[in-house]
Symmetry: C2
């Protein structure tokens, strides 16, 4: 078995935890509509659309309910006992009616049933009844955060996948930096780096590599170029790099559906003294965050420590966001390294650490690294150089 996937056993362990929760809650079964939860519990990575998908988890059986077009795909790749399909959405009979029929067939239509949402949801033109409308006899309990709670603590196998992702994100970032020369456009640099890193990744890993939801490695700027780098969530605008630009980057790779996050502040040519000053302060902020994170403290404590540095150095005009977020199957996950998040940090949690400074007109300054919390403290999974001299392009 390659290290680049999760074993069937891992999915069984996850489902056992859900089944234990069913028992605690006195529920006969759980219905999951969320596509990330379905992938987490069955290994079935698919493209969510307006067509409803659901996983019915009973203590002795896992069943997928899918549109006809996913049948062979699910039978080939999902760790489940049964795949049932409906013809199409909207179709002649609404798929939620078909789901109710299947639950009836399973003897679940009048029992105590858990669900992760009131019904299927999709912004792609879907509409339909809630579960309680098609199952009027059932006693429904919404447990929207059950899987998200499990996902917050990564297993050693999940951490290996995130670590593998960070290796190829690193390569993509090396190439991105190499191609970041004045006169080149955002897309040219980003797509060339992403393509070459992906090809190296595919050739290196061979058939053992399955992205499961993405397609290889990628690095880019997301529009954070020059003055636009001061917008923490800019979007791509095809800007051309100019001498003196501050760049804020992002790189990663998808490995069996898992992600990592690597972001760096770079300079096209030598930075101005003012830019170098903010870069130095940003690195101090990140160092402080990294030194604070450890198991047993609440997430809020990390943000509070970093906020004290903003206080002490009069940096509030340049503050835009909290210290970081969990990640794994999704790029952003709970919990958050935020003053309002009292979740206790535990071994196995994976966080981005990325306090930033954003100076209108001058540029944005943010590094982001991915770490896993251990019994002893933290292990950094990203390892790209963080010092100024290493981050000058051209």
């Amino acid at each position: 078995m390659s290290d680049l996937c999760l074993a069937k056993e891992e999915y069984r362990v996850r489902r056992d935890r859900i089944i234990a929760a069913l028992d605690r809650e006195g529920l006969a079964a759980m219905v999951f509509f969320n596509s990330t939860s379905i992938a987490y519990l069955t290994g079935f990575a698919f493209i969510p659309t307006e067509r409803p998908a659901a996983l019915i988890l009973e203590p002795a059986r896992a069943s997928l309910y899918l549109p006809r077009l996913e049948l062979e795909h699910a039978e080939e790749t999902a760790y489940v006992d049964l795949v049932r399909t409906y013809p199409e959405y909207p179709g002649e009979v609404h798929p939620m009616r078909g789901l109710a029929g299947l639950l009836q067939e399973f003897g679940l239509a009048s029992g105590r049933l858990g669900a992760d949402a009131a019904g299927y949801g999709s912004g792609m033109g879907y509409e339909g009844p809630r579960l309680e409308e098609v199952l009027p006899q059932a006693s429904l309990k919404l447990l929207p955060k059950l899987v998200e709670g499990l996902r917050a603590i990564k297993s050693p196998a999940e951490v290996r996948l995130i670590g593998e992702s960070s290796r190829w994100g690193n390569l993509a970032h090396v190439l991105l930096q190499e191609y970041s020369l004045p006169g080149r456009t955002e897309n040219e640099i980003s797509q060339r780096a992403s393509m070459e890193a992906t090809m190296a990744m595919v050739r290196t890993l061979g058939a053992s590599y399955e992205p499961r939801g993405g397609h290889g490695a990628a690095a880019g700027f997301r529009g954070q170029i020059g003055p636009n780098s001061a917008l923490p969530h800019a979007i791509t605008r095809n800007l051309r790099l100019r001498p003196g630009d501050v760049l804020v980057t992002g790189a990663g790779a998808t490995v069996w559906g898992y992600h990592s996050e690597l972001e760096r502040t770079m300079f096209v040519g030598r930075p101005s003294p003012e830019q170098a000053k903010f870069f130095g302060l940003m690195v101090e902020l990140q160092d402080l965050a990294l030194a604070t994170i450890r198991p047993g403290i609440p997430c809020s404590e990390v943000d509070r420590a970093v906020r004290a540095f903003y206080d002490a150095n009069d940096l509030w005009p340049y503050w835009r966001h909290h210290v970081g977020h969990a990640l794994g199957m999704l790029g952003h996950e709970a919990p958050f390294l935020d003053i309002g998040d009292q979740t206790i940090i535990e071994p196995g949690m994976v966080f981005s650490v990325e306090p930033g400074l954003y100076v209108p007109g001058l540029g944005g300054f943010r590094h982001s690294d991915t770490l896993v919390v251990t019994q002893a403290g933290i292990d950094l999974l990203t390892y790209y150089p963080r010092d100024l001299e290493s981050l000058i392009c051209g």
Copy 2:
């Protein structure tokens, strides 16, 4: 004003339609949480995350409520009267409380208020109260489909953007076909074609081109290579092309947030007689669909006509999905060319037309073209060759 964007006036017209709906419904204002609706009504394209975003639309004022990190970005690019922010999510005060405070300040906390959803929603670790919990005095009416209804009929300017998208999707597809040679991997072909098409696009269109949510042109296979082409929604698996493979492709480009859809069935070398037979039947299915679509008939009639061909030719074992779907800002939108969709086809609707045949072991056969419905019938916006001889690679 370039043709590659929408004028401020277009956003005003859209908002006037919402304001007319407020009037009809006797509502003082509407709150929109959906990121596509916010972009549709304000021009603000942004990255939705766990941080709530909302648009408050009153007859005389459009206000965005955003996380602090989006302030400058929104002030620069959104057509609104006001941008208000909250510090962060989860933060010390839940952002939904801040939204309630803003609505209170606007005198809307105890009036009749519309909303597109019960509250903000995000799979990225968000949780929070519903609008009715933070605004107990308000009389709330959910109108989840208001904007989706408007989006279904595209303006001439929107059709121009989708047409521009299809030109660059065409180029990406030409390159994809050129690079589809035996021995090459999916990612290599796809990323090279996408990068070169994007660079041509950026260089041709210059600064007038703003993707607004994507990054240029792209073409690929999404895993539909060889036997996997028989899975209508396969996912990328880095397969290597082999002689005799059937390929199902996809190409498009993002232009000011609008998309087009171009898909083709191609062959690595000459197809077998069996493959050529199914290819021919698929083209007949698509011809039949294209000949049926016209304004004034229900969407279901198109699917019914195509289903009659499956009947007449014993093709049901190879059926997997309906004829097509609307598209525009999203890749899939309502209405659907589906036997269960009774929406009347109107001029300005933009559809994909893509009936398919999927033969396990042999391959998948699907072309998808994008068309706009006109007073007289249809205009095809995609124009890549559809005949077998033009679609043989290598």
